[in-house]
Symmetry: C2
Subunit: 500 residues, 2 copies
């Protein structure tokens, strides 16, 4: 690397550290708003978040960043190095950011902010017609956004790329079609299996749930004094840096949902927590994509948290904490109960098997929306048809159908597929871990998670966002995304009678 390149790189790093710091601050402001802010503070908070995001955007689109990137001869950098990863990522972020006029970004932010309360009301009153106008506005703005990037063979690619970089609609379609072909018959087969999960409903005192969630997060493990768990309406993972991880959960007095959502958010939190310190202040110092993030959360929630080795260890403790609920339920029944497959209306409450079909339905509808193959007013009907076809479920109303998710109200079109892509990748990663840690199950049965955490640190989290999600996955597992391990896992786990 010659002196000019080194100098340009140093300047780029300084600027990009500012950018990353500002985005950390903006995320943290959102955390506070969702978790503990006095409700009346919402006005200031919106202004403060917009201010910090605007300055971050100015840092990214500054013409000097373009000049520095031009000065850096990427060929002189070792492709696997932090520097090369940073330059690749910033080049990509800068190129995308400068395509979109500030005015359009502003319109999108306003439309999203305005659509959200309308969606809340529409969902409450079960009135899709109310939401139609704001939805049309969001879709129209997404079309204008897509146009910023010039003519496209597949316009939906532009949206998808924001959430799962360099993933193409065509690839996702192929993967999801493969999944659909196997899942639909599997679900049809499993739907009538009788599974008793009555013991999962009852009374779970909140203080014991809070203690349990903390106990599980401590057991899974992290560096001391660096995590918080707080209650919120909707669970999420956030924080202000690798030593300040904040996950949230929603406690229900009548169920153990909070425990599983805490394990899910732990996976997200651990990804950010284990980003290498030397890159944590830069844009490459975060998870590689939403999909890879979801691979981590789904892994801890399902591959650990709904597995028999984990419950061999944990179930006696759970019985101790909730003796009235579980004292007379043997492990096999409990395990079958938490893995009960039952087609249902709501994505976020779906079991491991039916979950994928909820995502595929949304992915398909989004493409119809973007390509104008469906009139927005016909969405409820199209939704109901697909629910019937894929899950054999009848949609009673829009609140339990097309209005259930917040994403479209926020203009987030292209986001949903990452949930299933992540789930698919989680199984690929899990199989690689099992290969490299042959006694993984035995370790989990002893409540030992250090080797698992360290494997993830060394093989996934270590890369941060230096590579594309698929290159990250390839470096971790030897392969890019492949639905076969996921499908085989589901059939293995659920195809046979579920026993402990």
């Amino acid at each position: 690397m010659n002196a000019t390149v080194a100098d340009a790189l140093a300047h780029l790093k300084t600027r990009m550290a500012d950018l990353h710091g500002l985005l950390d601050v903006a995320n943290f402001l959102v955390w506070d708003q969702r978790v503990i802010m006095p409700p009346a503070g919402v006005g200031h908070r919106a202004q403060h978040i917009a201010l910090v995001q605007r300055i971050a955007h100015e840092k990214l689109t500054d013409p000097e960043v373009g000049r520095l990137l031009d000065e850096i001869d990427a060929g002189s950098l070792e492709p696997g190095s932090d520097d090369a990863g940073l330059v690749r990522l910033v080049r990509r972020m800068h190129a995308k950011a400068v395509q979109v006029p500030v005015e359009l970004r502003g319109e999108m932010a306003v439309a999203s902010a305005e659509a959200n309360p309308v969606w809340v009301k529409a969902k409450e009153t079960n009135d899709f017609a109310l939401f139609l106008g704001p939805l049309e506005r969001n879709v129209e703005l997404r079309h204008r956004y897509i146009e910023c990037f010039g003519p496209q063979d597949e316009p939906y690619d532009v949206l998808l790329d924001d959430f799962e970089p360099e993933m193409k609609t065509e690839d996702v379609t192929r993967i999801f079609d493969e999944v659909k072909a196997e899942l639909v018959p599997l679900i049809a087969e499993l739907r009538d299996r009788e599974v008793d999960d009555s013991f999962l409903h009852g009374h779970f005192p909140l203080d014991r749930q809070v203690a349990l969630d903390h106990e599980v997060v401590e057991m899974f493990g992290h560096r001391p004094d660096s995590w918080r768990i707080d209650p919120t309406e909707h669970p999420f993972a956030s924080g202000a840096g690798i030593d300040d991880i904040r996950i949230t959960t929603h406690y229900y007095e009548d169920s153990l949902k909070s425990l599983f959502s805490t394990m899910h958010e732990y996976g997200h939190g651990l990804y950010e927590h284990q980003i290498p310190r030397r890159i944590a202040h830069l844009p490459i110092g975060t998870g590689a994509s939403l999909g890879l993030h979801e691979s981590q959360s789904r892994m801890w929630e399902n591959l650990v948290g709904r597995s028999i080795p984990f419950w061999r260890f944990m179930y006696p403790r759970l019985q101790e904490i909730f003796p009235g609920q579980f004292g007379n339920v043997e492990l096999e029944r409990f395990y079958a109960g938490i893995n009960r497959v039952q087609p249902s209306l709501i994505r976020i409450r779906a079991d491991e098997v039916t979950y994928g079909m909820h995502v595929i339905l949304r992915f398909e509808l989004e493409q119809d929306i973007v390509n104008g193959r469906v009139a927005l007013r016909d969405l409820p009907q199209r939704w109901a048809e697909k629910m019937d076809e894929y899950l054999g479920v009848e949609v009673p109303d829009d609140a339990n159908g097309v209005l259930q998710d917040t994403h479209w109200a926020s203009g987030l079109i292209g986001y949903f597929s990452t949930y299933l892509l992540g789930t698919i990748m989680s199984v690929q990663i899990w199989e690689k871990i099992q290969e490299e840690i042959p006694d993984l199950d035995e370790r989990i049965e002893r409540g030992e998670f250090a080797a698992l955490r360290e494997w993830l640190a060394d093989n996934v989290h270590v890369h941060g966002r230096k590579f594309t999600p698929q290159e990250t996955l390839r470096r971790a597992t030897g392969s890019t995304i492949d639905a076969k391990p996921y499908l085989a896992y589901l059939k293995r786990k659920y195809g046979a009678p579920v026993t402990a």
Copy 2:
């Protein structure tokens, strides 16, 4: 106002709204750090705060701000208007900010950050020698800071001006000498008076204290959903805007200190809460000075919170909450107990009468430090001499003497006097309120605080930072600072036997 001025003003406002927003964000990041941040997050947080403050500093010192100020003909603005106030304030802030090189600011920030942990250790181990080096460094940097502003008749003026704008050392000296002349004999007279406050020591269950603090803040009053009270090591008031006020307190199981500190912080919080909405996003949208802020906090803590009208209303409730402590203590004894005068070592635990002498001692020592009239290594001895002279108290060690406060470790020289200036002003304001709300005592005896809150809003808080502190006080009371009402109040309240 002609079009050029109007245009320059509009641009100035946009930029200054960004500045103010960034400072709000930085303050909020400090709140989180002190209140709920996982301790390991301190590294990121320091970087994030420095980043936001640096960008704020760039916004303030931008040459374009100077150009806009030059374009605005101040003579064309009505002197009492928001615009004139904003221009005056920004002119002043900009002029001061551009005098100080960024490097020096950086050195000051680093020296302060480095001195603080040394001070903590020195205080813990009662070892002033340990703190001497960092203190010398802070003092040396303050000398360099003063030099940035050119030759000074009174170098200490430069430091004082940062905390109490446009107040001169000479004026403070005159006021404090007047106070000292009256306080020293008054304290000597009161020190041997026998007052029983044994009932203020005992067991006060934390949950009841928490509920009591919330009850008092609700009773004093504020807009709904806009305040938080959290526990911290050291109480303070902060927030992220006029609708997001966050005060903190420290609970002691064996005393009611938290109640009085909560009333104190309520006063700070209410000042920011009642800043007019139309200026809240601008630099003029905050308290006028530390001194005026303290006038508000001391007013609610002492003139309300240690008054007989307040306790006529509140004492039955207190007896109900802590029947074991107060069930057999009549109101007069309670009132005498919370107003007991007793010279002591620690400023923050001092009563209303002796408090002033703690401040005067520090103000005098600071001038000796800045003018080189005392070698820093001799500070402990000088401290002990003054404590003996002013309060008749023997200093047993440096932890209870010169090392007790954090201010000098943070480089905050020039800050202390605002505590007493504020206390003095609080009585001037209180007497004006009593004049304008003749039945104020009766209202307080009924637990009604709306008229008091509204008077403060209309006569003090309304001005934000549009005027100098003294002009703000003059507009509220008709007079600039004057110690006589304060001294008369103390003699009236404490000179006679304290009875209810």
